[in-house]
């Protein structure tokens, strides 16, 4: 970058090298919805499997109901994980920014207090 480069020149240069990602790659909203759907379907199928297994004395049908129930629980767990992953990301990003700021502020205050402290021990200010 040269010193005579204007903001507009820099803007054009940065856009030239900007890699435009495939819009299909950023499907956070889709994953969020898929997670919620999987979670709901898992619960519904799990409850259905319970009733199927209890409303028959045929062991083959009960076996199918068991398989369905286990698959539903697995689907629900995966759905919950997806939902949490995509719903919490945004929140945690801001939370981390806030934490960083608070730590920085605390460090500044401690450093300032340290600098104000008289090493001869004649100051009355509490440390």
């Amino acid at each position: 970058m040269t010193s005579t480069e204007t903001r507009a020149d820099r803007f054009v240069r940065e856009l030239t090298v900007l890699k435009i990602p495939d819009p299909a790659a950023g499907r956070a909203a889709l994953w969020l919805r898929a997670g919620a759907a999987l979670m709901t379907i898992g619960v519904v199928l799990g409850v259905s499997a319970y009733f199927i297994s209890h409303n028959t004395s045929d062991p083959l049908v009960q076996n199918d109901a068991l398989t369905l129930g286990l698959a539903a629980v697995a689907g629900s767990v995966v759905g919950s994980a997806l939902f949490l992953r995509y719903s919490l990301t945004g929140f945690l990003r801001y939370w981390m920014a806030r934490q960083s700021y608070d730590v920085e502020l605390l460090a500044d205050r401690l450093l300032e207090r340290e600098l104000r402290h008289d090493p001869t021990g004649t100051d009355a200010a509490p440390r």
Partner: protein, 235 residues
């Protein structure tokens, strides 16, 4: 100078209702372009398309000579496209200082951001510890502008800066917008109240029902036609 922001035949919709029917608009570096029009004309949608946050049905969003249609708005924001939305877009529960701190995601330090903000809007320095929600409307708009400036924008998109503010305050804010443009920033302003922005803009376009009905230098001719366009009759 060639345009930094170009909208080419933009068609865009809300749900399945098309609200922009082929909008063409150019904004060059150092230029203030006002996009005027009555309520519901599609001004805010045009601005959101320019920021990359609203998808287009057809047409091109060209930035710095490159077709950026469909680009991630976060990439555009990092490159220097800054949208200040209607309603100021500040965090009301955070202090002025914390609102500015949020802009450190751009890579600039807290001190540098505060220096830029407080130099342009000294009143914010006096309100640094105050919650943004307790500021006056004008001060909140100053804070929104300061947050925008902290991103070192090349293209600044302003939506209804005058909303809910006294004319005197609006005049002062637009003076600042003019100053920002003179530093080489391309500014596109959406405004429902034409009088507020015509004094400082270099070019004005009037949007009616999703179409640019008239555009040009904001001279007497355009001003005279504005009321007729707003009322939906021809002169």
């Amino acid at each position: 100078m060639s345009a930094l922001l170009e909208l080419r035949g933009i068609r865009a919709a809300h749900e399945r209702i098309t609200v922009l029917h082929g909008v063409d608009l150019d904004v060059a570096a150092g230029q203030v372009v006002a996009l005027l029009g009555p309520n519901g004309a599609g001004k805010t949608t045009t601005l959101r398309v320019a920021a990359g946050v609203h998808p287009v049905e057809s047409g091109q969003l060209v930035l710095g000579g490159r077709d950026m249609t469909g680009a991630d708005p976060r990439d555009l924001a990092r490159a220097g496209v800054c949208l200040i939305p209607e309603g100021r877009g500040v965090f009301p529960n955070l202090s002025v200082r914390d609102n500015l701190l949020m802009m450190t995601f751009t890579g600039r330090g807290r001190e540098e951001i505060e220096e830029i903000a407080f130099a342009r809007f000294p009143v914010l320095a006096r309100r640094a510890g105050q919650a943004a929600g307790t500021l006056s409307g004008g001060e909140q708009q100053m804070l929104a502008l300061a947050r925008g400036l902290a991103t070192d924008p090349a293209v600044l998109l302003l939506d209804e800066l005058s909303m809910g503010l006294a004319p005197l305050v609006v005049g002062r804010l637009y003076e600042q917008v003019g100053e920002i443009a003179r530093q080489g920033v391309a500014v596109l302003v959406v405004e429902q109240f034409a009088a507020a922005v015509l004094d400082i803009c270099d070019h004005a376009a009037v949007l009616v029902r999703g179409r640019v009905e008239r555009q040009g230098h904001p001279d007497g001719g355009l001003r005279a036609e504005l009321s007729a366009l707003y009322l939906g009759s021809s002169t």
